[in-house]
């Protein structure tokens, strides 16, 4: 009887350790940890080109993460990319004339949306649209333009 009790305790520890490892993988290793705080309000912005932006990419302001990309669609009329941003509720005082641009973290890093605050007295709310946008910088285009202008100069 004593033996089987001990066995049960060890098995219990084993299962708990396995689940704890899985929990650690979920919370510490994967992005599930910050998946839970999906509260906030939604703002849209349309870009000519979003480059490699993906849903769940970061939205940051002055380097601080203020939200995530919730959804990306193509506008059927203007052929612009319509990006829905989910901004965390604590950042509820972003001016209405804020501009959004797509940046790359480092030379080869992930793409993210950077917001530059405007000076408007009114703040962005749920469903508003950011009208001042700057498309993603596509490296190949820049190189192409550079080569083209170089050839023109000669």
């Amino acid at each position: 009887m004593m033996q089987s009790k001990q066995t049960e305790i060890l098995v219990g520890l084993f299962v708990a350790a396995g689940l704890a490892a899985l929990f650690m993988l979920a919370m510490k290793v994967s992005n599930l940890g910050d998946f839970t705080d999906e509260k906030g309000y939604q703002v849209t912005a349309s870009f000519q080109n979003i480059g490699g932006l993906k849903p769940r990419s970061q939205v940051s302001m002055a380097g601080v993460r203020v939200g995530r990309v919730a959804d990306i669609k193509l506008d059927p009329e203007t052929y612009d990319a319509v990006v829905t941003l989910n901004i965390y509720p604590e950042y509820d005082n972003i001016p209405l004339d804020t501009s959004a641009s797509i940046f790359t973290a480092g030379l080869l890093g992930e793409q993210y949306i950077g917001l530059q605050a405007g000076a408007d007295d009114f703040y962005l709310g749920d469903g508003d649209e950011i009208t001042l946008t700057q498309p993603a910088v596509v490296l190949e285009q820049i190189i192409g333009q550079f080569l083209y202008s170089k050839a023109e100069g000669e």
């Binding site: 089987s4 066995t7 049960e8 060890l10 098995v11 520890l13 084993f14 299962v15 350790a17 396995g18 689940l19 490892a21 899985l22 650690m24 993988l25 979920a26 510490k28 290793v29 994967s30 992005n31 599930l32 940890g33 910050d34 998946f35 080869l108 992930e110």
Partner: protein, 259 residues
């Protein structure tokens, strides 16, 4: 020439027959599982032998695999100035591949061979026929609890392997090589997806646990009841399990991450 063809035919028929018997055993095991829920203590006991006793080897191997990954990955990444991506490299390789595969191989060696030897010896000492004489179904009493225990413990062991491996890589990367710890964790979190990477790894390990325990139990149950036969079955368990794990890993990877 005719002899050769006949040998080939006999081998083919034999393989088919064994496959058929293995499938029948599996069906018997699975139909026995609901009944097993009534007597879960049988499974708990097997979880101890199959799972708890495998923890040590899994943890130690996981730690070292993670540490080696950290060192090797750092050497490659530092050439590109991307040593901050070490966390991503380690977590993705462990969670997607090495965790399930290496822990399944270790599991086959540590627990699978023990299961085959145990069941095979039970057969050769006629304990299984003895049970049948007493109207106790050996498949339900002996095989099914071991099967369930194997399927339950495999994903837990694989999760431990990956978790400890990542910690090992962190120890080497941050402690020894000086990778920034914030970048290590945040890049890892940004690039490792719960559904895409971790859950697919868990599914892989469940499949491996299923296959390895099935092979081990069938080899034991089907062993030639002599000491030589049991020995041969034990060897076959390890070899066939390794083949099955690596082959299935390719198929599963192609299905999950191939697109």
């Amino acid at each position: 020439m005719i002899d050769f063809i006949r040998m080939l035919g006999r081998w083919g028929l034999g393989t088919l027959e064994r496959l058929g018997r293995a499938t029948l055993l599996l069906v018997q095991i699975i139909t026995g599982i609901p009944e097993l829920m009534m007597r879960f203590s049988l499974v708990v006991q097997q979880l101890f032998y199959v799972g708890v006793l495998s923890v040590l080897i899994i943890l130690v191997s996981g730690l070292f695999v993670g540490m080696v990954l950290g060192l090797q990955g750092y050497n490659t990444l530092v050439d590109f100035g991307a040593e901050e991506s070490l966390g991503v490299l380690v977590s993705l390789s462990l969670v997607r591949e090495l965790g399930p595969v290496v822990s399944a191989l270790l599991f086959a060696g540590r627990a699978g061979s023990a299961l085959t030897a145990e069941v095979g010896l039970m057969k050769s000492t006629e304990q299984l026929s003895g049970m049948e004489m007493m109207a106790v179904d050996p498949v339900r009493r002996i095989i099914a609890p071991r099967f369930l225990a194997g399927v339950i413990s495999m994903p837990l062991l694989a999760a431990m392997f990956s978790a400890v491996g990542i910690l090992g890589a962190f120890l080497v990367g941050h402690g020894l090589l000086g990778v920034d710890d914030g970048a290590f964790w945040s890049q890892m979190q940004a690039k490792t997806d719960w559904y895409e990477d971790i859950l697919n790894g868990v599914i892989k390990s469940i499949v491996f646990g299923f296959v390895v325990t099935w092979i081990a139990l069938f080899e034991g149950y089907d062993a030639v009841p002599t000491s030589e036969g049991v020995g041969r079955s034990t060897t076959r368990t390890v070899v066939h399990s390794a083949f099955a794990i690596l082959g299935l890993d390719f198929v599963l990877t192609a299905l999950m991450f191939g697109e």
